[in-house]
Symmetry: C2
Amino acid sequence: MCWPSGLSINFVSLALNKDQRRPMTTIYDIAKAAGVTATTVSNVLSGKGSVSATTRARVLKYVRELEYQPNLIARSLIKGRTGVIGLILSGVDNPFYAETTTIVERLAYAVGLRVFTTTLSGDDQVGQKMLKDLILRQVDGILITTWTEKQIMHVIAAMQLPVVHCFWEDDKPASTPYVAIDLESGGLLAGQHLLSLGHRHLGVITHLNRDGSSAHEQRVAGFQNALSQHGLSLDPILLQDGRSSMEGGKTAAHKLLTQPNPPTAIFATNDAMAIGAMAAAWELGLQIPRDLSIIGLDDVTLAKYVVPPLTTVAIDKEAILSHAIKLLLDAINGQEAVSPPPLSPTLVIRGSTGPCLQ
Amino acid sequence: MCWPSGLSINFVSLALNKDQRRPMTTIYDIAKAAGVTATTVSNVLSGKGSVSATTRARVLKYVRELEYQPNLIARSLIKGRTGVIGLILSGVDNPFYAETTTIVERLAYAVGLRVFTTTLSGDDQVGQKMLKDLILRQVDGILITTWTEKQIMHVIAAMQLPVVHCFWEDDKPASTPYVAIDLESGGLLAGQHLLSLGHRHLGVITHLNRDGSSAHEQRVAGFQNALSQHGLSLDPILLQDGRSSMEGGKTAAHKLLTQPNPPTAIFATNDAMAIGAMAAAWELGLQIPRDLSIIGLDDVTLAKYVVPPLTTVAIDKEAILSHAIKLLLDAINGQEAVSPPPLSPTLVIRGSTGPCLQ
DNA sequence: CTGAAAGCGCTAACAT
DNA sequence: ATGTTAGCGCTTTCAG
């Protein structure tokens, strides 16, 4: 064989097919070695039944020697449980979702669950197929964190598969457990903060297209409540769609800021859009917070590092997801899953908001 | 039962245990309904064997009526293949990894593979256990994108499990397929760019602790090559550890910039650290790029949105991961997995670098 | 305390 | 073209 220069044999690996690889040692292998039956080995391993100390020791010895590893697939088949859950996420360029995955994976593993993450990129078919695939793979439950096609919800419901919602409750069947956040008070907090800084001409960037959502509507509603308290109301032209993404937030901010009478402060209903808005402000030569205040909602890790650091309404992802996992586990175990009362967000003041100077 | 005010019965879900739920319809159910045997149903479904058009139609009819869904767990058990791969990631606050997961999930699914993401948070034990769990769950292969304990590598090697490395090749057994990037030329590009802007006093933020890595060393080496070409060399005090994270980058930049003779430009060996460095500069009242130029490496999505937009050396994640998945698939199928020649990064000039004004 | 037998849902020889 | 048999690796009654 002839190699392009620079490529050595190191760069080649003649892999072994599954059948060519050394077969895993099974429970039978160690049963034979220990001179007992598979049942006994199983009992030793599971701690059920009762086995004499002697045989237990002998079995364990071979377990070690033969480096036995239980085959979780076989176990899943017989138990009717895989110990895997599905996680449904949105695929927009939003750091929030990235953080969600990591947290969920860790929390789930802590209770013995692995997760298949399914990222829905818009309304494509791929995501929907991936979701069905989750069912074929016998996941024990599903955690939904974003808008999901009604049809899919029905399939899941028909399967009577345990489901928990969080961050997003649109089109959720009434009976589905849900970990709620008081998003309306989140919007209120944002509004009050801006108002207290003297801003009176306020813009909003939110997510409002058809698959958009009460989750964002609530934030806006809370914001409007704050305005009402000051006898103000939101000018519809100052409410723009940012599609939940950084890019969308940037575009929306452009529209807002190039109007004849631009706002002096903007509430973006999530941090991704807020960060996009900051980028737009920079392009327009606006300095934050001198010329424009921006407040987000979520408190993603990144918020601390953007310039200037983003003032935002923080939601406790960790707490919410931890609740969600617990709920899902209860549902999987056939226990009553009681949704907790809504969690309250908190205001985190950093550098992207300041007094109104106009 | 008594409910806190505001909570309605909607918030409760009495879940069904697995055993209580309607059992899935199996291949036998539809065999019985269609008056054939399970084998025939299997043949119809797989398209193997041969079945008369009539029975095929009849079987298919019941498949639809009874809403048959194949149980992939059972299939996995008999096939000795799960169609699942493991993905090993680092858990630092680096947007790069988030993007990696999403891309891998999509690319993998396109070739019929699902992925179990395993985030290694430092050198904790949890990550290592999760990794072993991957094996118990019979993943078909593993894609490693970050530093991994040698011991684990040995376990995997012992299992003769297909493995592919990318982005990171430290401690990689020589025979493991690897998708390489020419990181050294990446560092060179960064250095040349800074030099061409007139900067002569340069700082570097990189990842250098023990589990750090040739992956970052290469970047620094390339950078130093650029310096050498100009008869310059890197002052060791201007090389700081940023631990690959935004926080680390920020801390490192602080150290760099508070020195008696601070650099006029900084090369951070990844975008996360570069973004952290930008935050540090802001805190110190330095304006970018007027007072300080910063260049990163990776080109994460976020780079376009930070203020000012980050100049960086882009690596084509999509291409690399696509190669990696292909390699892994080859390895799984027992085919020769030939590592491609190293891919070249490219310079993307945005707003965080400018002429040296001192 | 240990073993025999059955079966989870599916597929793959090997008949017929 | 269809059916029979056996088995993937494990657990779970139920006997002994």
